[in-house]
Symmetry: none
Subunit: 194 residues, 4 copies
Amino acid sequence: MKKGEDTRVRIITAAAALLDEHGYHGTGINAVLASAGAPRGSLYFHFPDGKDAIVSAALFAVGAQLSDHMEQAFAVAATPAEALDAVFGFFRSRLIETGYRCGCPISTVSLEVSGSGSPVADTCAQIYNQWQMQISQHLQYVAVLTPAAARHLAVVLLSLIEGALLLSRSQRSTAALDAAQTHAVALLSLPIPH
Amino acid sequence: MKKGEDTRVRIITAAAALLDEHGYHGTGINAVLASAGAPRGSLYFHFPDGKDAIVSAALFAVGAQLSDHMEQAFAVAATPAEALDAVFGFFRSRLIETGYRCGCPISTVSLEVSGSGSPVADTCAQIYNQWQMQISQHLQYVAVLTPAAARHLAVVLLSLIEGALLLSRSQRSTAALDAAQTHAVALLSLPIPH
Amino acid sequence: MKKGEDTRVRIITAAAALLDEHGYHGTGINAVLASAGAPRGSLYFHFPDGKDAIVSAALFAVGAQLSDHMEQAFAVAATPAEALDAVFGFFRSRLIETGYRCGCPISTVSLEVSGSGSPVADTCAQIYNQWQMQISQHLQYVAVLTPAAARHLAVVLLSLIEGALLLSRSQRSTAALDAAQTHAVALLSLPIPH
Amino acid sequence: MKKGEDTRVRIITAAAALLDEHGYHGTGINAVLASAGAPRGSLYFHFPDGKDAIVSAALFAVGAQLSDHMEQAFAVAATPAEALDAVFGFFRSRLIETGYRCGCPISTVSLEVSGSGSPVADTCAQIYNQWQMQISQHLQYVAVLTPAAARHLAVVLLSLIEGALLLSRSQRSTAALDAAQTHAVALLSLPIPH
DNA sequence: ACTATCGGGACCTCCCGTTGAT
DNA sequence: ATCAACGGGAGGTCCCGATAGT
């Protein structure tokens, strides 16, 4: 039981890292197993539904992990701008530490499977929705916005982060992320009327 | 001579469409050939360097096409906000017409190959750079910004668009793109001090 | 377990026969699989290192098999000439039974890959070395030769056999093999001073 | 006319070299064209019957070239042993100069196609026959042998050379060729009674 | 005598999922 | 929970030959 659970976690962790780097189609099950040091036979015990089940589990795991990070940043931060700095800082570290190989761990897979009818597409949408709602609720609470304005701002901020991570990875530079951060912080300090 | 060029164009066009939908690893050479109605032998005559050469050519083609669209939008538009509306409108149409299967035709491939050392990664970076410079120069000219401010704003706008397209595809809704557009237009009408 | 080993043997046997007939580049993996009645998936389970691994295994197998034949011939034979007759007879039967399609099962592959840096080249060299040493030791023992003389004679005999098999296959006649045998037997009965 | 003939010769020369190194199936037409610097289109003008025609022409060319070498060696040599030394010396130089990549330029192809019904198989057989007859006639003339004895000895010598070249290439050493030469020279100096 | 293009088949490799036996 | 083995399909690359137009 304990050992099995451990194997499961190792598979998910390995899968998440590889998915971030190479995406859905670029991540083979063999590579996941090799990276996790797990035997092939046990894979379909833990994930009877195959690759999609592994991918969904891995994405949900990193999604929740990032959610926790944000929650913690929100709890610690004195102002919304500080919370934003923490989130941007987290991704900036990831970019640099991994040599611009890892950005948002959902985005690549999300783009690959969107519109394919794959269950993984739902998984990605759910995770993005959750992040969006989380940011929205935080903004509503600390920035004294109406629910609609908070939702709007959350979408804008999430788009900005995702787009900046995409550009930063491509250009192998944090410039885009830096610009996005500057802009986002200014945005929260001096909100544009919506 | 004419016929060969036609085949080449058909291959590139087919590849671009498939890459947008399914990404690099999700787009097989066979699928490209079938979609283009071209035989295998022709392919390696036109692209002796294989898949990466096809992908790069396809991305450069759509990159230039989008660049032309933007240039035209910039030329026609009376204000920067109008130009933005045209660009957002273009992508909104793409999303809806393809059932949210196509967004930014570069993003998926870019994320998949970034950090892989593939020549395709360079291609993507070049295209993003070109778009960024194009937007930047337009802003500098029509919005009376310093070069640095224009560059900054261009990165922010491009990030916003890319991120919004990503979220819109995932959520199968133009909500994110709409929010980003509203925000972007407001941004240009009432520029935040940088 | 037993079944797996059986499949492995079937693959090796089929590969050895095809390699003898058509050589390295003329023997396709598909042909091996069809001849062995094995599915593709099994092949890369048993030989994860691909074609070269299969080829090396097949050559080592036939090399050892021929080595055993020689050993047995040496053990049974009353004189070196009788042993030689057995060896030549073995190859003569092979030639005739296969319609001059199979001769030395190593030679074709050896020539194809020699100087290519392929691991198969090492395999071939090892097998030839082993045969050479085996013949040399037998000669040293039964013909009362110095080690150096035995080695020298072994190389000459092996060259003679290999060359005669080559010519016999090409000319679709055992004439060359017959002449080589006559000469070799005479050689052992009345050794030329070295 | 002149230019065409030159292209033809360049193709044949390039093909002969590649065939010696890599054999029939290992030598692609594209590689031949690239090595010869010839355009693809002109190939089927010079050799309408395709690859086999090129291969046969290349083999006949090197076969004749070697035949001339031998003839010259025979003409110059004072004794049969000297002639042999010249022939062995020629092949030894080839081995060393090409890093053991080239030996007998016929053998690899001959083994690959023997028993395949290919016209190339006939080509190889013809060349070997010609060499054999040439050696035989020389022996008959200078060594005062009966026609039958000369034929017999020629086959033995040719087998010895071919086998020794095969082993030398495989073992990346001239040891086998040296031993064969020593033996062959001794053979001619002190002929075994046949 | 050569160019540019077509045409499809074969190559080796790797994929993901399944099975029955422990 | 894991293992050995199967099963066949798809991946990208390269092959040789053909063709229409000079």
